[in-house]
Symmetry: C2
Subunit: 350 residues, 2 copies
């Protein structure tokens, strides 16, 4: 059959690429351009237009959040977890960033011919245990098998649905000048944990992934303040990319105080070894909260009282100056622009 | 890091396999064993226990159906559609088999480094157009990129949520002796359309995939009868596998009348060329309905009045004899057992 690709005119090229490159999956500018120029025109609708971690809509009288993520991490097992843990926590956390409690997950496995059943079994067990810890039910699933050489052992997609409590309206557009930026704990941990066991660039480190479900922490925050403005889990592209997206969505500037950024020494050391900036390294058990200044102290206290927020800290604020841009202030008073990365710094960390 | 796989004891081997083989993805007995012995113990919960095409549950006062499917078809474009069409219709149809109208879809792309942007764009366009035709909104998405040699151009996962109308209770367990088995049209079309363009075994044929959204047909059926007992779209493993699953779930026998099976001549010819039985070949725009005998005539008429059910036909009935088993009666009165296939007859057709 003759396939006529000429029917579809590519609205790109994206930075002169005519094929997919790793950077399109990095969560940075290239990912954004792929979504904006290729997927959005194809799918265009007002729900998707939000471009948040999860969609929020009314269905049958219920106010639901709905989200999906595919997981292609390598290696499949890493210090502190596995692709099974990521598959649950990633989607639970995306829902939590709308203030929703994850209720049900779907789970689609793409298995590569030849992968050991014991590996699949161990991952499924991790996934089931992670779901139990997060209090979410795996409701429906699917398994496909692809020929050897067309996968990488195990890929997993999860989608999740959850209820958004009445009165809660958490979305990036709500960041306002004067708002306070809080991070729930030490940053850069997940990405460095993955890199520490990557074939070819292994290095000795004690860093263990922070992969964890954040729905409990968010519930504790909502208990003291239903008017949280923005929540975001800084995964691919790290804190820098998440804050840039928020700044652009809301049309505000973000100013970080460098000395307040909670970077553990092990991460700082690994980053200088690898030539990375911890602000761009992925987290899988951390969140950024942007709240009104009057609420900041109470929200911070609630976070610090929760096991997953013990190291929570205020790291900056939203400002009227330089809308859409993130900067950090150094101890010497200098200001540095924290841009969105173009492509991929650490491939396939989730 | 030392990974201790010994913690997880494989409850298998499945037919002496210790690794995943293509048959585990075929939708037959090996797929069933993987789900039963590996995934179910890991995820065990009452919602998943149903093992139907979609899970049905209450959330926030709404009665929802939730389903997922990954799509790994090769080639990506085939006569009558593409992986983009399949990704929408597959999940819309799984929801429809619970009587639910799909409302929102999630969409996760796993792209292989090096795939042409124009291919991705064409697929996204197909996917968006298919969603519009089916009346479903793509609400949330995700894109990952994997290294060249670890994918096959494009894999897609979709999950969907929809509302189940009040009073509708459609599930395999409701098949009862005396019930009538209806098929919505000609069988075996999708699998043969894919095989006709498969590298290495191409053959000339006029067969075009039947890929279509069945939610409109199901709505037309529910308009005349809310008490449909079972619906199933016979995809992987075909009509034979779907009916075997239903027979086992309900503890009934199924008796098909061979002469009534609507097999188009092109499919029959291709099947004899390939050594296949049309009962085992996948469909992507057909459904099986099992209804009480008193409802059969009205449901059949409603189906035949719909464009996607014009060739609907009664093909057999549920019987008390041989529970869990499907048989066909030939024109000469002989009876043949129609078993569940063990592994994979046509790999990666969806």
């Amino acid at each position: 059959m003759a396939l006529n690709f000429e029917e579809w005119v590519c609205p790109l090229p994206l930075r002169d690429h005519t094929t997919i490159v790793m950077g399109h999956g990095g969560g940075g500018q290239m990912s954004g351009e792929l979504v904006e120029h290729l997927f959005m025109p194809a799918f265009a609708n007002p729900v998707l237009g939000g471009l948040t971690d999860s969609a929020v809509f009314q269905l049958g009288g219920a106010r639901l959040a709905f989200s999906t993520d595919s997981f292609v991490v390598q290696p499949l097992f890493f210090p502190g977890g596995s692709i099974g843990d990521l598959a649950v926590n990633g989607t639970v956390n995306d829902l939590a960033m709308s203030g929703a409690q994850a209720a049900y997950l779907s789970c689609g496995f793409i298995l590569e011919e030849g992968v050991e059943l014991s590996v699949v079994g161990r991952i499924a067990t991790d996934l089931g245990a992670a779901a139990q810890r997060a209090g979410v039910t795996i409701a429906t699933g699917d398994t496909k098998v692809v020929d050897a050489g067309h996968g990488d052992g195990v890929y997993i997609n999860t989608a999740g649905v959850g209820l958004v409590p009445a009165g809660v309206d958490i979305r990036p557009q709500r960041a306002a000048p004067g708002d306070v930026v809080i991070v729930s704990g030490q940053i850069g941990v997940h990405g460095i944990a993955i890199m520490s066991v990557r074939d070819g660039i292994s290095f000795g480190t004690e860093v263990v992934s922070d992969c964890a479900p954040l729905n409990g922490l968010v519930a504790a925050m909502l208990d003291v303040c239903t008017d949280l403005h923005v929540l975001r889990d800084p995964t691919r592209g790290g804190v820098a990319t998440s804050l840039n997206e928020i700044a652009k969505s809301a049309g505000v500037g973000v100013e970080l105080i460098e000395s307040t950024l909670p970077v553990p020494e092990t991460v700082a050391n690994a980053c200088s070894f690898l030539g990375l900036d911890p602000l761009y390294v992925a987290n899988e058990g951390k969140l950024l909260a942007i709240v009104a200044p009057d609420d900041a102290e109470e929200v911070l206290a609630a976070m610090q009282a929760h096991p997953l927020g013990a190291d929570a800290a205020i790291i900056g604020s939203c400002v009227e100056a330089h809308p859409g841009m993130v900067v950090t202030k150094t101890a010497f008073g200098a200001t540095r622009v924290v841009d969105t990365p173009i492509g991929e710094q650490l491939p396939r960390i989730c």
